[in-house]
């Protein structure tokens, strides 16, 4: 197995170059993606459900709750967002539990591109990343130049991470190379123009609820990783079906197999619909038993969520005090 390099590192590009033959043209890419092992839906769902029966108690639960908090991309993606709302969210991200300063901070604040500067300023010195959704989020229906401009704009405003959406229309109609090229160009647009040579990390959203089949999700995962994704992400949170344990399991298997093949380590972010501590722990168990320690950190696994944080905080209070908490003891956002 090749040595591991992070997807956002410089060496990753060389590793991907070794796979250039499979992305050389539409035909090669299609043959490669269609040559990936199939996913049996029922077996996959059964495996995810079994992992969901793990019983995480006491010390393990306390560890999992803090880990989950530290992995949250605390998100507000509303048409009604204002700088005030974003600042409030940032404050919460830094100090999730005002009554307990031992609660860890979240991983990132996720906002629309026009709120990046506000968030960046509010988070100064916190170590919390600013993630911006881009590329005509959530539908992805805009021309490539607009998507690239959207990305550059967010990067210029200081975004540390870009959450792009793929063109599901192109994917579902089999124009894999178009999707590949778009991701590749967005990745290039993530490079900061300040001459630092650094780049915002790129998360690629598949909107798995629209891809419908697990085979498609696996193909999309490989397609994105070949194109240079630093993270692969399930959903926008804006459609009927968002992150589910089986879909996330497909992503976890994909990053595992991709690293085995190329040595490039890619992160995973389920997003949308994860609201309870119980759910979050199920995902962590899945990461633990599919990928192990190396992915069990905010660097490699994130939750795209908003209301999840409060439930984690209430469970955290329950563990430390022994009594059940209530919504009045956590902050409204």
């Amino acid at each position: 197995m090749p040595t591991t390099v992070p997807a956002y590192g410089k060496e990753a590009a060389e590793r991907l170059a070794s796979m250039a033959d499979v992305t050389a043209d539409d035909g090669a890419l299609r043959r490669f993606l269609h040559g990936l092992p199939g996913v049996d839906a029922v077996g996959l769902q059964a495996r995810a459900a079994t992992l969901g029966t793990r019983s995480i108690k006491t010390t393990a639960k306390a560890y999992a709750i803090d880990l989950a908090i530290s992995m949250i991309d605390l998100t507000t993606l509303e048409g009604a967002d204002t700088p005030g709302k974003v600042r409030a969210l940032c404050a919460k991200g830094i100090n999730p539990d005002p009554t307990d300063r031992t609660a860890p901070k979240v991983a990132a604040i996720c906002v629309y591109g026009d709120m990046v500067a506000t968030a960046k300023e509010a988070l100064t010195g916190s170590g919390i990343q600013v993630a911006a959704v881009a590329t005509a989020f959530p539908s992805g229906r805009a021309s490539l130049p607009v998507k690239l401009a959207d990305t550059r704009d967010a990067v210029a405003a200081g975004a540390d991470e870009i959450d792009m959406v793929i063109d599901r229309g192109a994917f579902l109609s089999g124009r894999y190379l178009d999707v590949f090229e778009e991701i590749r160009q967005v990745k290039e647009a993530c490079v900061r123009e300040d001459g630092s040579g650094t780049a915002a990390h790129l998360k690629v959203i598949f909107e798995t609820g629209e891809l419908q089949t697990y085979d498609n999700v696996r193909r999309a995962s490989w397609l994105a990783m070949l194109a240079g994704a630093d993270f692969i992400k399930t959903s926008t949170g804006k459609v009927a079906v968002n992150a589910t344990p089986p879909v996330t399991l497909v992503l976890l298997e994909a990053v595992r197999d991709f690293r085995a093949a190329t040595g490039v380590q890619v992160g995973v972010k389920p997003a949308g619909g994860i609201r309870t501590t119980k759910d979050a722990i199920k995902y962590l168990v899945m990461v633990n038993e599919t990928l192990g320690d190396e992915w069990l950190s905010p660097e490699w696994f994130r939750f795209g969520a908003s209301s999840l944080l409060n439930d984690l905080l209430m469970q955290r209070q329950k563990l430390s005090t022994g009594r059940y908490s209530g919504p009045d003891y956590v902050t409204v956002d």
Binding site: P37, G38, R54, S55, I56, K57, T58, T59, K61, L284
Partner: protein, 477 residues
């Protein structure tokens, strides 16, 4: 040390109240054995004695058969709809008491609570529900307008799924109008004795279900008793053959569900992650104490390396230990005797030149344990490729073509089950057609359902349990 270590999550033992001793359940009453003999039943995970149960002798068996015969007159004369309601009651009570029964089963058998809770008990209740519904519909089963029961059924069940095997035996027998004398396995008598209490709660007429505990000699007395009309046995092929000899020349109807050495066949176009789960579940479910276990992995040579890497990686995540811990995947081996057999065969595998591998795992110091084990480089000639190990030991063989896979899969005196993993539909159907096995799981493994007939070809036994086909075993047809 992993960063995410699961803390112990034990299921409470307090939900089950095990008495210090149990008698035989005959004619609706618990009674000591005529000669007062008893034996202890152990918890295989700790070697702690759980209780003392009566050892039924020849006179006790005779009493049980007579009680069943007497009860048969009235039970078989009941309208099917009434028998159905008793069985529905039993099903419901099992659901109500499932937590207690799951803990009991894990204690007495050693299986993980996750399995007794999520597999055994739901299937036990489902089986009673399924056959309850048949009791008043037998005229529609295809055996004529008024199929008759056989009479008294002598039933002998194994220790691997004690309560589930009881359900497989008792539910169809009672639905068809028979009465039963059931002998649970020597090492796992408790859940059957608790079932006696469920019969009491359900108001089942006396003598319809009789439970005689004991060892193989009790079973032999039961099989040979002239007062029984039917023998149903699940267990080893060796004992199955002895039973077939015993009943020769009698009118006793027999069904036998015996051993297996199932091939789990993985093609290079398999859904690999699900195949890995199927292989793991196929051999490590219930510590491999499963007659239909996928104990021979036949993997296409072109994906052998990739598959074995994935399999080992997955085996590294298996959690072996306390059966009552909700996160345990592999529990205790049921008995010292079985552990010795598994060890002997695994040693033979090594001695014959196969390569042995097991993940690092710490085994508890008391109780009977065997780490999940993989043998590669196994050939058809090795003992571990031919003999049923009945433990968490997987033998890996390879093949190159579908024809070779079928030839190797069928090259065994057994014929209970088989697995096929490929994304190609026509190949699945071709393979399923060629495999000489009673149950073929394609792109899945070890699935059970009361509506689905189960049973073997060749030396895996005869007759079917479950489904419409399962009725035939208990009707005079």
């Amino acid at each position: 040390m992993p960063v995410f270590e699961y803390a112990p999550a034990p299921e409470s033992r307090a939900v089950v109240d095990i008495a210090p001793s149990y008698g035989l359940f005959i004619d609706g009453e618990f009674a000591e054995a005529g000669d007062g003999k008893v034996f202890k039943t152990l918890s295989p995970s700790s070697e702690e004695a759980l209780s003392e149960v009566a050892q039924a002798g020849v006179e006790d068996v005779d009493r049980a058969v007579k009680a069943a015969r007497k009860a048969f007159e009235t039970w078989s004369a009941l309208p099917g709809s009434e028998r159905a309601k008793y069985l529905f009651r039993i099903a419901r009570i099992i659901q109500e008491r499932s937590r207690e029964l799951a803990v009991l089963e894990s204690l007495d058998n050693g299986k993980p609570i996750r399995e007794s809770r999520d597999a055994d008990l739901p299937l036990v209740a489902a089986h009673f529900f399924y056959y309850a519904g048949w009791a008043d519909k037998l005229a529609h089963a295809g055996y004529g307008p008024d199929p008759r029961p056989l009479g008294v059924a002598g039933q002998i069940i194994p220790w691997n799924f004690p309560l589930l095997m009881l359900a497989w035996k008792i539910a169809p027998a009672l639905a068809c109008g028979n009465t039963v004398v059931l002998k649970p396995a020597e090492t796992t008598p408790l859940s059957a004795l608790f079932f006696a209490d469920i019969c009491r709660q359900a108001g089942l007429p006396k003598g319809v279900v009789n439970i005689v505990t004991g060892d193989g000699s009790t079973g032999a007395e039961l099989v040979a008793h002239p007062g029984i009309d039917k023998v149903a046995f699940t267990g080893s092929t060796e004992v199955g053959k002895a039973i077939a000899r015993t009943v020769a020349g009698t009118r006793k109807k027999v069904t036998l569900e015996l051993g297996g050495k199932a091939a789990n066949i993985v093609f290079d176009d398999a859904p690999i992650d699900q195949a890995i789960e199927g292989i793991i579940g196929g051999i490590f479910f219930n510590q491999g104490h499963v007659c239909c276990a996928g104990s021979r992995l036949l993997v296409q040579e072109s994906v052998q390396d990739e598959l074995l890497d994935a399999l080992k990686r997955r085996m590294n995540t298996l959690r072996v230990g306390d059966p009552l811990d909700k996160n345990t995947d592999i529990g205790a081996i049921n008995s010292a005797e079985q552990l010795a057999r598994i060890r002997a065969l695994a040693d033979a595998g090594e001695a014959e030149g196969a390569e042995r591998w097991a993940p690092q795992c710490e085994l508890p110091s008391s109780g009977y344990w065997f780490a999940p084990t993989l043998f590669t480089g196994v050939t058809q000639a090795h003992r571990i490729a031919r003999e049923e190990i009945f433990g968490p030991v997987l033998s890996v063989l390879t093949f190159r073509t579908p024809e070779e896979a079928v030839a190797k899969a069928n090259n065994t005196p057994y014929g209970l089950s088989a697995g096929i993993w490929t994304e190609k539909g026509s190949r699945i159907l071709w393979m399923a057609n060629k495999l000489r096995a009673g149950v073929v799981w394609s792109n899945t493994f070890n699935k059970f359902d009361p509506a689905s007939p189960f049973g073997g070809y060749k030396e895996s036994g005869y007759g079917r349990e479950g489904g419409l086909h399962g009725l035939e075993a208990y009707l005079d047809v």
